[in-house]
């Protein structure tokens, strides 16, 4: 039995919140995407299947609408709002990602709907939150990453900070929103009442600073960006290293936990003739202190990194991954999407799922369940819906509209 099988979710969100509803849908909830006539704004964002700009072909929509059904409803229309209120009376969750105040100004804010359905869990996802001096700021992925702190930490030191080329800020927010929905649901089961959850993407994105955002209040040195790594004070610490056929990511750090791995690697390198014993036997636990205090010159650290590069450059990504497995080194290949799809690891775990394309009905491969539950496994039951694909099924079949009412609302452009 799917975990949230008996829960109904009205998902009014757009590109800011699609992931939240999909997570609840993966857990078995009946998630109804409530789209404006003409389709959700996320459907206007690429990439598009076959490169054709068509709301039914947005791969962003496909990526985050699996397991949902779709109806259309015009919230700008008084009758649309009336319908929404009636549906909300019987819903367990509502997810929305309009600008702050939009839902309230249309009479379907949290207070209005809670008056009808006190058990409703109402989740709002915005760029900057529901209130505050910048709540009405215009947003976009890059803007939220700039505000939330991760952007300044990424990129080459001789160029502007750079983002990941797949938008991330609203995914952080959507995932946080799903956590909030589950927390509120847990409490509702015990106490019978719902509540409003306010998620702000800029704050959600701050997790991607790895707590570096706390440097100022803690009085600590702030990290600086570096191509393929980071800068800590005078230290250039690479994370990305060259291989014979591309790059690897390697943790080459110091201290009582990580220095042990560095020592292990240096012993291996010495045994293979990459360095002398004096280099091997440096104090890898206390090495950062040696460098910071000047007892070890930075030029010597540069030489050490060149030694290590000599080793990584001499091997392919696959060879280095094998060595990591055999010897417990901290390195993995920097992989392309194609290489990830071809991964033996993911294949052996039967990770990938096939799902139907809503346009041509061909099957395509998508990331599989986010965890493996032994007793209540996540199922991909439905392909992403077309715009309003379930209007009749839901409005007439489940919601009890008569054929006449349905036709009248359709003619009026409400649905």
């Amino acid at each position: 039995m799917p975990i949230l099988e008996s829960s109904r979710v009205l998902d009014l969100s757009n590109e800011r919140g699609l992931l939240c509803g999909q997570i609840l849908a993966d857990l078995g909830a009946d998630v109804i995407a409530v789209e404006p006539p003409g389709g959700c704004s996320a459907r206007r964002l690429g990439p598009f299947a076959g490169g054709v700009r068509d709301p039914e072909r947005s791969l962003l929509w496909w990526a985050y609408s699996r397991n949902k059904r779709s109806i259309t409803l015009d919230i700008e229309h008084a009758q649309g709002r009336g319908l929404l209120r009636r549906m909300a009376a019987a819903a367990d969750f509502l997810i929305e990602s309009f600008e702050p105040g939009y839902m309230t100004s249309h009479g379907v804010g949290y207070d209005e709907l809670a008056a009808i359905n006190p058990a409703l869990v109402y989740v709002s996802i915005t760029g900057f939150g529901q209130s505050g001096p910048k709540a009405d700021y215009a947003d976009a992925d890059l803007i939220l990453l700039a505000a939330g702190g991760p952007l300044i930490l990424g990129g080459d030191d001789d160029r502007p900070p750079v983002r990941l080329s797949v938008p991330q800020a609203y995914l952080h927010a959507g995932a946080d929103a799903a956590v909030a929905a589950m927390v509120a649901h847990h409490e509702r089961v015990r106490r019978g009442r719902g509540q409003h959850a306010d998620i702000a993407a800029f704050a959600s994105a701050a997790i991607a600073t790895q707590s570096a955002i706390l440097a100022a209040p803690l009085g600590a040195t702030q990290l600086r960006r570096l191509a393929g790594g980071l800068k800590l004070g005078p230290l250039n610490l690479p994370v990305i290293w060259p291989a014979k056929d591309g790059y690897i990511s390697m943790t080459f750090l110091f201290g009582s936990a990580l220095g042990v791995f560095t020592r292990r690697l240096m012993h291996y390198l010495c045994a293979r003739g990459y360095c002398d014993e004096a280099t091997r036997d440096k104090d890898w636990i206390g090495y950062a202190d040696l460098l910071m205090s000047g007892r070890e010159p930075l030029s010597e650290f540069e030489r050490v990194k060149e030694v290590v590069r000599g080793f990584t450059r001499a091997h392919t990504k696959a060879e280095l991954l094998d060595l990591a497995l055999q010897h417990g080194f901290l390195m993995t290949p920097v992989s392309t999407i194609g290489e990830v799809v071809a991964s033996d690891q993911l294949a052996s775990r039967e990770y990938w799922r096939r799902i139907q394309d809503p346009v041509s009905e061909r099957e395509y491969t998508v990331p599989g369940p986010f965890v493996k539950f032994s007793a209540s496994p996540i199922q991909y039951r439905r392909r992403p819906p077309k715009i309003g694909e379930h209007n009749r099924e839901i409005y007439i079949g489940e919601f009890g509209l008569s054929n006449e009412e349905f036709s009248r609302l359709a003619r009026a452009g409400v649905i």
């Binding site: 039995m1 975990i3 949230l4 299947a49 076959g50 791969l59 939150g129 209130s131 505050g132 505000a147 702190g149 952007l151 990424g154 080459d156 750079v162 983002r163 080329s165 797949v166 995914l171 995932a175 956590v179 909030a180 589950m182 927390v183 509120a184 649901h185 847990h186 015990r190 701050a206 997790i207 707590s211 570096a212 706390l214 100022a216 702030q222 990290l223 960006r225 191509a227 980071l230 060259p242 990511s249 943790t251 936990a257 990591a324 901290l330 390195m331 993995t332 920097v334 992989s335 999407i337 194609g338 991964s343 690891q345 052996s348 998508v366 990331p367 599989g368 986010f370 965890v371 032994s374």
Partner: protein, 405 residues
């Protein structure tokens, strides 16, 4: 304890360490879950050794990362290799609703704490294991951190400039994604248990959870047979879309136009209204094609201006813009302040310290930072006495046997 939190009835025995796992249970602690976190008295949690350190002074308690990931939890130090540790741990298993761990797949079996063993002690046990690549498969035993999962899962290659090698995402990127799915999976399994009486085992591969944040890239590959590429700061649907220089050393401002009216507003703000009519920039397709020239013009305008001034000027006209904030700026930022994002709390050895607030603001049962992250073994006495009901004699006997290191 925590009787006010929405998760006050959730009890977790937490063996997770470093970042991805503890950040997940931290989210539950924010809402009142009782979490007893087990640490080794001799093998230091890697997170305790990671930056930033309070006042740049390293100690086992000074890591802001550790304190951020573990606020709100109880901490006990137990030497799992000690023969008598097991009786304490088994009592905690009986107490807990959920047991979590993030070792490599062998460790829990070695201690007789794998799911099958737990189920014999507690038939409706929920157990979650979280590691980089999951409990099965050729990479199951690989040691490592989230930067490695980010690389092998495709993130690192998609960050950087098209004319250069990938710069990679900052830090242990999959460790920022996996915690949400950890928290969701735990609450989902408890819901399943409530409805059916049945416990279960959850196998979380952090890389597999994280791949959901690249789903559009995988679809592009699967449907369009096209390998997604890194694109600097440019965007497939929007232009201008970039990070531009500002006055000061390493100061930047991000600016995006989501449509024609924002583009015209930007031109007006720059005092270059004529640009809106320039055929090179008149329509989105043209602006994307002439992105380099566009970025140069905007960059010349922003370079002499304070980033915060540009942000305010453009936002007042409805154009998405923000200074690219470092920690100092985020700390002073009016919107972070409004959300009370930086939370000062008392700490046993640091005096006061600062952690981040719960992310979601729940209207009726808001989250809270209920206590600082534990110093090693801070809550041994509390847990043994108050949670397990051990008397003083038994506690000192266990201490003499070396259970606590």
């Amino acid at each position: 304890m925590n009787s006010d939190g929405p998760l006050a009835d959730v009890k977790i025995l937490d063996f997770m360490w470093v970042m991805a796992g503890p950040a997940g249970t931290r989210m539950l602690a924010d809402y009142g879950a009782q979490i007893v976190r087990v640490e080794s008295p001799s093998r230091i949690d890697t997170a305790r050794t990671l930056q930033p350190y309070q006042k740049d002074a390293f100690s086992a308690d000074a890591s802001g990362l550790f304190n951020n990931c573990n606020a709100g939890k109880l901490g006990i130090a137990i030497d799992m290799s000690n023969a008598r540790a097991r009786e304490v741990v088994l009592d905690l298993v009986r107490w807990a609703d959920v047991v979590t761990e993030s070792f490599s797949p062998k460790a829990m079996r070695k201690w007789g704490l794998d799911y099958e063993s737990l189920r014999r002690i507690k038939p409706d046990a929920v157990m979650l294991s979280s590691c980089l690549f999951g409990q099965t498969g050729p990479l199951r035993q690989i040691a490592g951190f989230g930067n490695m999962a980010a690389a092998i899962a495709g993130f690192s290659n998609l960050a950087g400039w098209p004319d250069r090698a990938a710069t990679g995402v900052f830090g242990a990127y999959t460790d920022y994604i996996a915690p949400r799915y950890t928290a969701i999976a735990i609450l989902a399994a408890l819901e399943h248990r409530r409805r059916t009486g049945e416990g279960q085992y959850i196998d979380q591969a952090q890389a597999e959870s994280a791949l959901h944040f690249l789903a559009p890239a995988f679809l592009e590959y699967a449907v369009n047979h096209r390998e997604p590429r890194r694109a600097g700061n440019s965007d497939r649907d929007l232009a201008p879309h970039g990070v531009y220089p500002a006055a000061g050393e390493d100061r930047w401002v991000a600016i995006v136009c989501r449509g024609e009216s924002e583009w015209r507003a930007l031109c007006g703000a720059m005092g270059k209204s004529e640009l809106a009519g320039d055929p090179r920039f008149a329509a989105l397709e043209a602006r994307i094609a002439n992105n380099a020239a566009l970025d140069r013009i905007i960059g010349e305008w922003t370079a002499g201006r304070a980033a915060a001034d540009t942000e305010q000027l453009l936002q007042a006209r409805g154009v998405p813009a923000y200074q690219v904030q470092n920690s100092s700026e985020a700390w002073r930022d009016a919107q972070f302040k409004h959300r009370r994002h930086f939370v000062e709390i008392d700490h046993q050895t640091l005096g006061r310290t600062t952690v981040e607030a719960p992310r979601a603001i729940l209207s009726r049962t808001p989250g809270a930072v209920r206590r600082a992250a534990p110093s090693l073994g801070r809550d041994n006495q509390y847990v043994l006495e108050r949670i397990l009901g051990y008397d003083a004699e038994r506690i000192s006997e266990l201490a003499l046997a070396g259970v606590f290191g």
